[in-house]
Each structure stands twice: as structure tokens, then as C-alpha cells.
Amino acid sequence: MKVKLSKAGDRRSMSQDALAALERAGFSRRDFLKRSGALIVSFSVWGMGTEPSTARAQVFQGVSPGAPPADQLDSWLAIAADGTVTAYTGKCELGQGMETAQTQLVAEELGVRFEQVKLIYCDTSCTPDQGYTSGSQSHPTNFNRTNLAQAGATAREALFRLASARLGVPTDQLGSRDGVISVKSDPSRKVSYGQLVGGNKFNLMLDSNAKRKPPREWAVLGTPVRRPDLPALVTGQFEFVHNVRLPGMLHGRVVRPPAVGARLVNVDEGSLQGLPGIVKVVVKKDFVGVVAEKPWQAIQAAGKLEVNWSAGTGLPGHAEFYEYLRNEKSSRDTLLVDSQDVEQKLSEAATVVKATYYHPYQMHGSMGSSCAVAHVEGDKATIWSATQGVWYIRSTAAMVLGLKPENLRVIFKRGSGCYGINGADAVTYDAALLSQAVGKPVRVQLTRRDEMAWENYGNAFVLDERAGLDAQGNIIGWDHEAWVPSLGNRPGTGTPGNIITGLLVGFQPDAFTPRKPAAPPTTYNNNSNGVPSYASGCIGGTCRGTGIIKSERVLVHGVRSPFWTGPLRSPQRLQNTFAHESFMDELAARAKADPVAYRLRHLSNSRLSDVVKGAAKTANWDARPSPKSDTRKAGIATGRGFSCVAYEGDNGFSAMVADIEVDPFTGKVTVKRVVVCVDCGPISNPDGLRNQTEGGTLQGMSRALMEEVTWDQQKVTSIDWRTYPTLPLGFDVPKVEVVMINRPDEEATGAGELSITIVAPAIANAIFDATGARIRQIPLTPERVKAALV
């Protein structure tokens, strides 16, 4: 199957990288697939083959023991004699574009070309410990006044000082371009970065006073630089963690319990008798795995191995689960805000509105099931993992293996899009355990079922909303009470039991400690978006919310989950925002007000108001109360819905208009057009931001319309794409229009979760607008919509 370029123009419009990738592919994916089976990881296991000549032998003292210290410039940047810049970062490329954006950042601050910068990320042998690459924190962490950005600024000033001494000219008379500093009045007098420091260390602390390049002067940042990883990705040549091959590597499979809470009784190794290629059956407490010479042999063995398990602990019924959550007696209660006058305000209100919203468990559902490769040699181990936190895997895999963390090297290699804690960390422990048992490199890839049945799901939620309106329809008090189940989490520095494999080998998850009643809030934290955008967020006389409603209470009951939970793109923020933004629409309808105008009149934050206005303007918002007056007259109904959020209270702002059609006979909802307006501070890469916003919108649609984890009395029943459907490529893809507000004078915020957080309420509000039916439960399936229309 040859990839044929349709016309010469296409070829000319392709970047060199893309052309090179096609050439390497030989235009034949089949040939590539044949060859890729033999890809060998060629760099040495201990020590980086890609390091510049700069010696990095010093003993680093960082966050994790042994991590490069964040306050040292040499932890972040090295310049080789040929002027090549190597930058080290703890924020990985997960498919979200952070490799490109961070490379732009370094090129911008240092004044070199994008191509001159080589970015090394997430390898415990050489990159700083920046925790997890998660939570819309990569931009706030590395693009403002600390870390990678500050390293770039510190290095540029140091280079100018060195050039000043070398050329005998004050720094203010020097300019730089493409890594060469020259005298402004006589550009023939010049010196390159490579000549100034090539191969040597800076030996400098990060200078918090070093001047960042102002966004208004950006030449590399702020431009739609193309992602260097894409050509290899679209031509099937990209090396994922799944493609890592080591000499002598064996293949493992795990055998997970058949039911939640089932314990291992025994394993009959004799059941594998006669099967070829079996190397070892590995049992450690409740952990069972097999190692074989070839992948198919391991798959066969895992299927044939006779394993006896105890019965599971039993699960609460799926149909009654929301009532089960609400009735859980034991809970850990938290108050986010409490003005202590909400009941009084509601009693004085002209109208009190109440509604309850339901959100299911949803999964990361990685398209390629998780994979890792580990090589445990005696007391040392090298691990290739798609984890979002290499340092945390180093410390927790060390616990699982019983080794010292400093004897582990964890190297990030990309996996399938994760969106949070998918199976990547669990399969990393799996590979490490199996490799340790056989003393050889082992590759493990989870089955689709094991990936889906045992990952840490996004939390289910029950959300009660109550608000009081005065005679003019103004909101005078808002009460929010939620029930959210959780179990486990990311492993962090020392809790491998927060994911399935850790539990199976005997570690415990974070303890569940009930707490009633909740302590009064002392500081405002809207990290979870538990507080609606329209509340003033006042605690102790300081108001840090984005709205004007002074009478407010937000109470959250954390309860024990029967299933693993963990961060899934916009964790808890998405669920809370579904309730808040749906309820705001209900209040606007009750007040017979236009939903956009009604929102604006309850907001105090200008950046949030600006994205609201931006989305409404671009969408040509039809200002009037919902629902439409001519609902349900005949045939297909159409409607428009609105939603907005100040993500995590202040980590980015977004607003959305969804135009939809509802077929009243089938209940099918078709999203025709989405306009989304985002503000994440200064825009690093407009194409990257657009891509994140479009992708978030589509994933938000999938989660709003289709996705829900299901189970029976014993086990999860969402185990493949039939039982956990996702948006296929061929559905009616809506027109997605992204409006970007650039804020060069503000700090950088997150961007990856801005659109996904507000999709479900925009669609639910549009269904209400079109039909007059309010649906308060996700997913908005045809059956649910049809039932609401009856």
C-alpha cells in the first residue's frame, strides 16, 4: 500500500521533516511495520548518549534524592561547542504539544533558532524533578518566572556578560541572533554562544531577576511552530514505548483477578505443560504473571494458566449507585466556602430552585493499551515507561522491587494518549516485577480488558444544587453539596498501592479517613471548580471568587469508591462544572433571562466575562431566554447552549456555544457547531492551543454523549469499545471554531482542560433550548434524551 502524494504542490508544501519521514518510510507502511519489529534501542543504559560534551557528573540534590537541583542553571541548559543547546525539563511530551512549546521557550529566551535546541525530557538520569506532567500545570510551572523560562533568561544574561568581557563592549551595546552575539554598531565584531561556553558549565544559580523576553517582542514563541514529532507519527514511524526492543528481551502478560476484591487461592503451573516458550510463571501475593520468549506465547500462557481466585467482595448495584453514594454514612467532608447565611437567604428568596445532577465514572480509555519495558539486573533497574512522573515511578517501583531508588533509572517513552493516570504506571510495575523474576528485560502490554477494567477512573459524582432568586431574578444565595467516591490515586512518592499492581503485591492505597463535620474553610481554593464561577469566594473577608454572589456554601462528601479512581482530564472540575453551568442555565430560564446576559450580570472577573462575550459574539448568539418558544412543534428540533468556567478558579478561562439538533423520534443529539473562546495568558503556540481546544471539545463531546463505566455484581463490564463506546471518526464532526484571546501581560495558565470542562453543560443547555427538556445525567444518550421528551 503505497502512500501516493496526489500532486507536486502537496510535496512542496510539506516540511523537510515530513518529507524526510516519508522517505524513511519508503512510502510503505507495511515495510515499515516489518522493519519496526526489529527496532533496537541503541543508546547505552547507564548515561545519556545524547548529552552534549558538558560534563554532568556532579551529584545533584533536588526534590527527589538525586534529582538535578532546580536552582542551578546547569540542571536546565547546556551549550555545546557547536552552539547546540540542550535543554532538560521534567514536563514530558504526552501528545499535548509540550515538547514543541518548551523548545520554543528555550529558543526564545536564548535567542537561538528553534532547530538549534534539543529538548531532553523526563529521564531520571538527567532531567529535573518537576513532579507529574499533569493538571494543566506545565505552562504555569515552566513559562512564568521560574524553572525552564528563568533558566533561559539567566543563561542569556550570562552569555551577554561573557560576550561583553570578550568583546570589550558594554552589554547594552550588544545584540544577539541565532546564537551569535555581536556589537550593534559593528556586527563584524561577534562571538558565538559555542565559543563563549561551549562544553563548559555555567556554574550559576537561576537568577530570579534575570529579565524574561516580553511577549510583545517574541519571535519564536507566539508563532505556530510545527510539531517536530508529527511527521513520524502520521507516517507510522514514531517510536512509542510499545516499540522499545532490548537484546534478549522477553514478553510478559499479567493475569488480573476476575472480580473486584478477589484474592489469589492458587496457581496450577502444570496447566502450561507442553506450551512452547514458557520462561516462568510469576506469583507474588495476589500478583500473577507469565513470561515467555515471544508475545503470542505469553498471551497463550496467560489465557491457559489455571488460577483459582476467591469470590469478589461484591459491588453496589449500577442502577442504584447514585443513591448508594448519597447514603454512604462514612464520608470525609470538606467545606470550600461557607458564608453561614445560605439557609437564611434561601428562606427570604422569592423563588428557590433545586436540582440534582449525576455524572458517571469515566475512563481514560487509551487507544493503545498500556505498555512498559523493564530490565532489572540484580540490584539495578532500567525502566522505559509512559508514566507522567518518572521520579515518582523511580521511588515507588523501587518499593515494589525492594531496591534502592537511586539504583533505578526511569526513562519516559511516549505511550497512547493518557489524559491522566491510565494503565501506564500499573504496567510499569508489572514489567519491573516480571523482569526481576527472570533477570532479563521484559516487555509487558496490557490486554484491552485489563487496561479498561482496572484503571483509575475519573470520579462519579452526585451533585445537589440549590439557589434563591429575588423578585428581579437575581441570585441571592447558592448552595452546592456533592458526593464523590475515590479509591487510590497516582502513586506519588511512596504509595504504590494507589494502583492495581501495587495493591496486588501487598501495598495499601491512601488511607480513607472519615471526617464529620467539615472544618470551616480557612483559605480559598477552587482547584476542583467546586465553587461556582458566580460566587464571590469570600473567606475571612477576602474574596477571590469570580462572581458576585455573597451567600454561598460548597460542601463535598468524599466517600469510598469500590473502583480505582484518579485524575482524568479535568478531574472533578468537569463534573462540578457540568452541574454549575447546567444549573445556571436553569436559573436563567426561571428568571426568564438570556443565559449569556444572566451569566454576565453575576460575574465580577473581567477575563471570564471577556471569554463569555467573545464566544457569544463569534457565535452570533441569539439573545433571548431559553427554551425556544416554538419547541417540539415538528421534526428535528434545534437549539443553542452556553457554558463557561474560570478553570481551577484562575488557571485559564473559557466559554462555549454549542449549536445542536435533536431528533425527537430517536433521541439522537447531533452537535452541528461549537464556538469556544479561550484565554490562557500569553499564547505560546496558536496552533498548539487550537489543537488542544479542538481535541478537548471532541473528547468532551464523547464524554458528554457516550461514555460511562458499567459493572455487574462482581466486576467491571466496560472492557472494550463495544461496552465503552467512544466517538468514531465518521460521526458528524461539528464545525469547531476556536477564538483565542491573547494576554501578553498576564502569566501563562494551563490550556489543555479549558474546552473539555464546559462541553457537557453547553450541550445539555442546548437540548433544553431546543426541546424544553432538562437532562441532568451524563451521558446524554439517545435513550435518555428520548425518555426526557416523553
Partner: protein, 48 residues
């Protein structure tokens, strides 16, 4: 691969035809918008 095989057999496919042909393809990177745009651009080249 699905799009390529389909378009080689049906060079005059409409947008609707392409969407139907792609109905069995799942994507969790949610670049549907860009992929369909690329497929349509390729289709226009084939049709010419």
C-alpha cells in the same frame, strides 16, 4: 489506511461517503477535525 483504501476505490466520494467509510475508525486523540480535513484535502487531490 482506511481512508486511503476507500478513496483509491472511490475517488469521487462525497464528504458523507467519507464519513460513512470512516465510521468504524476510533480515535482517542480527538483530532477528528484535523484528520477529516486532511482526508478531504487528499480526496480533492485524487478527484482532480
Amino acid at each position: 489506511m482506511t481512508a486511503k483504501a476507500f478513496l483509491d476505490r472511490n475517488p469521487k466520494a462525497t464528504e458523507r461517503d467519507i464519513e460513512q467509510a470512516m465510521a468504524g475508525v476510533l480515535c482517542r486523540c480527538f483530532t477528528h477535525v484535523r484528520m477529516l480535513r486532511a482526508i478531504k484535502r487528499y480526496a480533492q487531490g485524487v478527484a482532480r
